[in-house]
């Protein structure tokens, strides 16, 4: 089995390096095909491992020593257990799909080879992240995906906005990474190891406040990667990257790493339910908060990004409330339909010559039938309509909140579910229904390459069946490792009222969205100039606030530190001391005026001064001696 583990892990790396070989060469499909093929290999290996794990085994290997200093010992160790194999499957499936899709999507891009190199490198990092058997190994993947995210967001580096967004993403993640490092430090100094098994076995022996702090710091780390408030702004900006990237990284995999971390560290969080409540509350808040921003946005990809953010909130609610397997389940389901949604958006963008404003589109279902179907499917799944994936995973979270008696959270999530349905179908309606507004802009859309659609097909299937088909086997498998909590509303009436009510609520939201946007778009000036609309449209002014409160002052402070402190105080002091010495020389060396008289005078003055000192000293000396006598 270890062989499969290594294949699953390193096949993407090989793909990346292979593509990198052609980095500077002109575009060749070979790179794309090879990378995709290797990923497929990785997927197959993962599947084999999944099979193995399903049989109740786990694989744990230690490849080699990485860091050993003092008592610290960190190997490159990898573990395939119920949790990581789930993640591996998600990652390898989505990334294989995205790779194949990208061959078409990036076909006309100069940086084709480079793109596959980055993309495969990302998959490798992600694999390291999920498969590592210790916290620092996870951190390698953690930073690795950050790097690839930076590379891929800024893939079109000639665009100012893209590079800016790339840097923003990287730096924001770094802020969170610091907290994560601190969490790791705390683990090490308190437990003497960073291996999962050692840590989780001994964590309960620590005092409560230390566990709490560890939990908090690790969660802050997770917040960065999963773009939780207040570190969320980078995710929307990250949409500057190519759309497959958004599908893979910023929807399906990387952003869920935070959730994965919390799930993985469940023995820690299990001990500190208060922190769990905070996580859940923050998750719920983000779910609503992000959904609200998605309501009015006029950028297709940003809408989906906010939706992702919102769904991440759901996952954190589940994780925070101790329903780790639910969180992981939603993570998986979400990965499928959200990636699908993004890839569909990619098709639309291609057809629309990179136009992103859905208000400039419309009626695309004629020319892009399959895309329409797939995106609608994904949206339905996202909205959580029975029997698609979202229903099983998302509604489960609502139930968790309800069962755990967190009715506020439940209400918020319910409301968000409605909002989700609304904005999802607002988007679908705007793009695929109504007038063909894009004709005004002289754009003639066309469907994407067939193989791209075929590539998307598995995701479509998964979006439909993932919930229905996988829930039970998944539950059985993963609860070997995660707390096996079941969330059943024992009162059947309540259960049915809740389920049907939710479904009706969601359907109502969908209908409203269709009604409002499917025919003609009426721009309501009054609403748009309203405070609420402006607030939402400008993302609660948070990017602006960050800019004003952090970025600009930091730059100003930096300039101040350089020009005023460094040059005018620190350096000037040094030069000042030197100058004082030099100037003293300049001023006083005129005492040597070359005139013999003054030279003689200096000598006599010296003598007289010494004489005076001698007399004074003698007088003082005698006085003291007299007193002594």
């Amino acid at each position: 089995m270890e062989v499969y583990l290594y294949i699953a892990l390193f096949a993407p790396l090989v793909g990346s390096l292979f593509a990198a070989l052609f980095g500077a060469a002109p575009k060749t499909y070979l790179t794309g095909i090879a990378a995709s093929g290797l990923l497929f290999t990785s997927f197959v290996s993962s599947a084999i491992l999944l099979n193995y794990v399903l049989a109740g085994h786990t694989v744990h290997v230690e490849m080699m020593t990485w860091i050993a200093a003092g008592d610290l010992y960190i190997p490159f160790g990898f573990v395939v257990d119920q949790v990581s194999v789930t993640m591996m499957m998600v990652v390898s499936v989505v990334s294989t799909v995205v790779h194949v899709y990208s061959i078409g999507y990036m076909a006309h891009d100069k940086g084709f080879n480079r793109f596959f190199s980055y993309l495969s490198a990302f998959v490798f990092s992600m694999m390291v992240l999920v498969m590592s058997d210790n916290f620092l190994g996870l951190f390698i993947g953690w930073e690795g995906v950050g790097l690839c995210s930076w590379l891929l967001i800024g893939f079109w580096y000639h665009k100012e906005s893209a590079t800016w967004a790339a840097n923003e993403a990287f730096i924001m993640n770094r802020i969170a990474d610091l907290a994560m490092l601190i969490g790791i430090f705390m683990l090490y100094w308190n437990l003497g190891s960073l291996q999962y098994d050692v840590v989780f076995a001994n964590i309960a022996t620590l005092p409560m406040h230390i566990i709490t702090w560890i939990g908090i710091f690790l969660f802050i780390g997770a917040m960065g990667k999963s773009a939780q408030f207040p570190l969320h702004t980078w995710l929307a900006d990250a949409m500057e990257g190519p759309t497959p990237v958004s599908a893979l990284i910023h929807a399906a995999t990387m952003v869920t790493a935070g959730v994965y971390l919390v799930v993985r560290a469940n023995p820690i969080y299990g001990l500190i339910p208060e922190v769990g409540i905070v996580i859940a509350s923050l998750g719920a808040f983000v779910a609503l908060f992000a959904a609200s921003m998605a309501l009015v946005n006029r950028d297709m990809k940003r809408i989906i990004a906010y939706s992702t953010l919102s769904q991440l909130g759901y996952m954190f609610v589940a994780a925070g409330l101790g329903a780790y397997w639910v969180a992981l389940f939603h993570l998986m389901a979400h990965a499928f339909f959200k990636a699908l949604l993004f890839l569909g958006a990619g098709n639309v963008m291609h057809a629309m010559h990179d136009e992103l404003d859905p208000f400039k589109m419309g009626g695309l279902k004629k020319s892009m039938k399959w895309t329409w179907i797939l995106m609608t499917l994904a949206s339905v799944a996202l909205a959580g309509i029975y029997p698609l994936a979202g229903f099983f995973s998302k509604d489960l979270i609502l139930e968790v909140a309800f069962v755990e008696h967190h009715y506020v959270l439940y209400t918020v999530l319910l409301l968000t579910a409605g909002l989700t349905a609304f904005y999802s179908f607002r988007l679908v309606a705007l793009i695929f229904h109504g007038n063909e507004r894009h004709l005004e802009h002289g754009i003639h859309p066309h469907e994407a390459y067939t193989f791209m659609l075929y590539a998307m097909a598995p995701l479509g299937v998964l979006a439909v069946i993932a919930g229905m088909a996988f829930k039970t086997p998944y539950y059985l498998m993963v609860t070997h490792l995660l707390p096996a909590m079941t969330y059943h509303i024992h009162n059947h009436t309540t259960f049915w009222i809740m389920t049907i009510g939710t479904q009706l609520f969601v359907i109502a939201a969908i209908t409203y969205a269709y009604k409002k946007y499917a025919k003609a778009v009426k721009v309501d000036k009054k609403v748009e100039s309203g405070l609420l609309y402006q607030l939402l449209y400008n993302q609660y002014f948070i990017p602006k606030i960050y800019d004003e409160v952090f970025s600009k002052p930091y730059l100003k402070l930096s300039k101040l530190a350089w020009k005023e402190i460094d040059l005018k105080i620190v350096d000037a002091t040094v030069d000042g001391i030197a100058n004082i010495i030099y100037q003293t020389g300049e001023k006083t060396h005129t005492m040597q005026d070359g005139n013999l008289s003054s030279m003689l005078r200096w000598m006599v003055i010296g003598l007289v001064v010494l004489l005076v000192l001698a007399v004074a000293f003698t007088a003082g000396y005698n006085a003291v001696n007299l007193q002594a006598m």
Partner: protein, 515 residues
């Protein structure tokens, strides 16, 4: 020959430099590369001969020099100095091999070879005066390199570099003499041998003063805030090769000396000064990073980034535990590789455009993709991405200091944030965007000579990031000896508590007494 390998390593370049006067100026570059390569392989051989399981000094050589005053030629290596020596030979080789300077190459190469001697001498010396001799002597070649091949402000920069460092080290010299005097009082004999000094247990108040005296010398060299202002000038004006050596090796002398002198000689004072120094280190980290962010000249960005990274090294050293000190030694090497490479990279673009202002560039990624890639890798290494060389050192240094103080480490840890800010924004300014400047349209990508220097560095930066064990193990063993020594010598209760006692732990199996 094995027992004299250190002396050979030290004096071979100097001898070769003398011979170099005879070599014709057209062939001198080949000569320089040959000598540097031989020296590099000698240093590798040293590594090969080195027993990584032993913590004490190896290949010791001793010859009395001024026996009446206790000065002797005493050299040796342990895990701490071994790799810095190899780094020195490595960078001299890389530096000469990728030399693009056209003016008076012969003088430059001879100077570099002399410089190599002094660098190795500093790291191999175990006698305070011999150490001091090489320490001071290293200033002169550097002075010449900056002053003769530098930019428009080169004379100001070189003199500032020299005088500043010289002033600090003179105070340190007084400290050394005092130390020797103290030894004389204790034993009735003069000695400047470090190993002898290690045996002394000094009264705490004397430790404080001596620590301060040594500190000044080392701090200026490192350079620590607020003694750092010579560095931007030196880097800004120095030719590429000068900056490379300065950043890669010369700065390490200060931090190395902290480990070699300050910690084992003055354990109590080190503990007492730990937090003030940590504050300075934090200032270095954050403040230098901010200043770097404000720079307009890309070389200055790298220069200030050095200060910032040196802050982390200092923090690691004063963590007083094996993890931190091992990390800081490793980070010295890592920072040497990375900053050296970055300066080489800046040199590449400077050779083409004769400017280092970022506003002059933009969009280089499309004109010089290979260059941008290598720069990117090195930048990421500098930022401390895992699996690159810097991460191991930074992680261990911060991890080490976390044991001493949580809040300080939290603040110091912002290094990974602020570091990313200035590096990424500089990279963005220079490499991203569209090519707006006409002059940049037809720039040539890195050529073979330049790759000759850069590729090995990239390889090392990643190799040691993935597999740092060959270095970490010997470093760790030697650091354990030092930490144990410090613990044994510590007198104050605080010091006893802060410095871990390794004698009970399993880690000491391979450790012997340092003397």
């Amino acid at each position: 020959m094995q027992e004299h390998i250190l002396s050979i390593l030290i004096f071979f370049p100097a001898l070769a430099a003398m011979f170099g006067f005879v070599v014709h100026k057209d062939s001198v570059r080949a000569y320089g590369i040959t000598v540097a390569a031989i020296e590099f392989f000698l240093s590798l051989w040293l590594w090969n001969l080195y027993d990584p399981m032993t913590s004490g000094m190896q290949f010791m050589e001793m010859a009395p020099l001024v026996s009446a005053f206790g000065i002797s030629y005493l050299v040796g290596v342990d895990g701490i100095s071994l790799f810095i020596i190899i780094l020195s030979t490595f960078f001299t080789l890389i530096g000469i091999a990728s030399l693009t300077e056209k003016r008076r190459v012969k003088d430059l190469i001879i100077t570099l070879l002399f410089l190599e001697m002094t660098m190795i001498g500093v790291f191999a010396a175990l006698d305070a005066i011999v150490f001091y001799v090489f320490w001071e002597l290293s200033l002169i070649p550097m002075l010449y390199i900056i002053g003769a091949w530098g930019g428009p402000l080169r004379i100001y920069a070189s003199i500032k570099f020299f005088l500043y460092t010289f002033t600090g080290s003179l105070v340190m010299l007084v400290g050394m003499l005092f130390m020797a005097y103290f030894y004389y009082q204790a034993t009735g004999q003069w000695s400047f041998s470090l190993l002898e000094w290690y045996r002394l247990i000094l009264p705490v108040n004397i430790q404080m003063w001596l620590f301060a005296a040594f500190f000044l010398g080392f701090a200026i060299k490192v350079p620590m805030f607020p003694f750092h202002t010579w560095l931007p000038y030196a880097h800004g004006q120095a030719p590429t090769i000068g900056s490379v050596i300065l950043a890669a090796i010369l700065l390490k002398m200060g931090t190395y000396a902290f480990i070699r002198f300050s910690l084992p000689l003055f354990p109590d004072a080190s503990v007492a000064f730990m937090f003030p120094i940590a504050i300075i280190a934090i200032i270095m980290i954050v403040y230098a990073a901010m200043v770097a962010y404000a720079q307009e000249d890309i070389k200055q960005v790298v220069a200030y980034s050095s200060i910032s990274h040196m802050g982390v090294i200092i923090l690691g050293i004063f963590s007083m535990n094996v993890e931190g000190i091992t990390g800081s030694v490793f980070l010295m090497i890592a920072h040497g590789v990375v900053s050296g490479a970055l300066f080489l990279l800046v040199g590449v673009i400077y050779d083409r455009r004769h400017t280092k202002l970022m506003s002059e560039f933009g969009g280089l990624a499309s004109v010089m993709p290979r260059y941008a890639t290598i720069f990117g890798i090195m930048m990421m290494a500098s930022v401390g991405l895992p699996l690159t060389i810097n991460f191991v050192g930074e992680f261990l240094s911060l991890l080490g200091f976390y044991k001493q103080s949580h809040s300080y480490t939290l603040v110091a840890g912002t290094a990974i944030i602020v570091g990313a800010i200035y590096m990424l924004s500089a990279y963005k300014k220079a490499f991203f965007g569209t090519v707006t400047n006409e002059k940049n349209k037809n720039l040539k990508d890195v050529n073979r000579t330049e790759l000759l220097g850069l590729v090995p560095l990239v390889v090392v930066a990643i190799w040691l990031g993935v597999y740092p064990k060959p270095l970490l193990e010997p470093i760790n063993n030697s650091v354990e000896a030092i930490v144990q020594l410090m613990h044994d010598k510590a007198q104050t209760l605080e010091a006893k508590q802060r410095i871990p006692d390794l004698s009970n732990s399993a880690g000491l199996n391979s450790t012997q007494e340092a003397h």
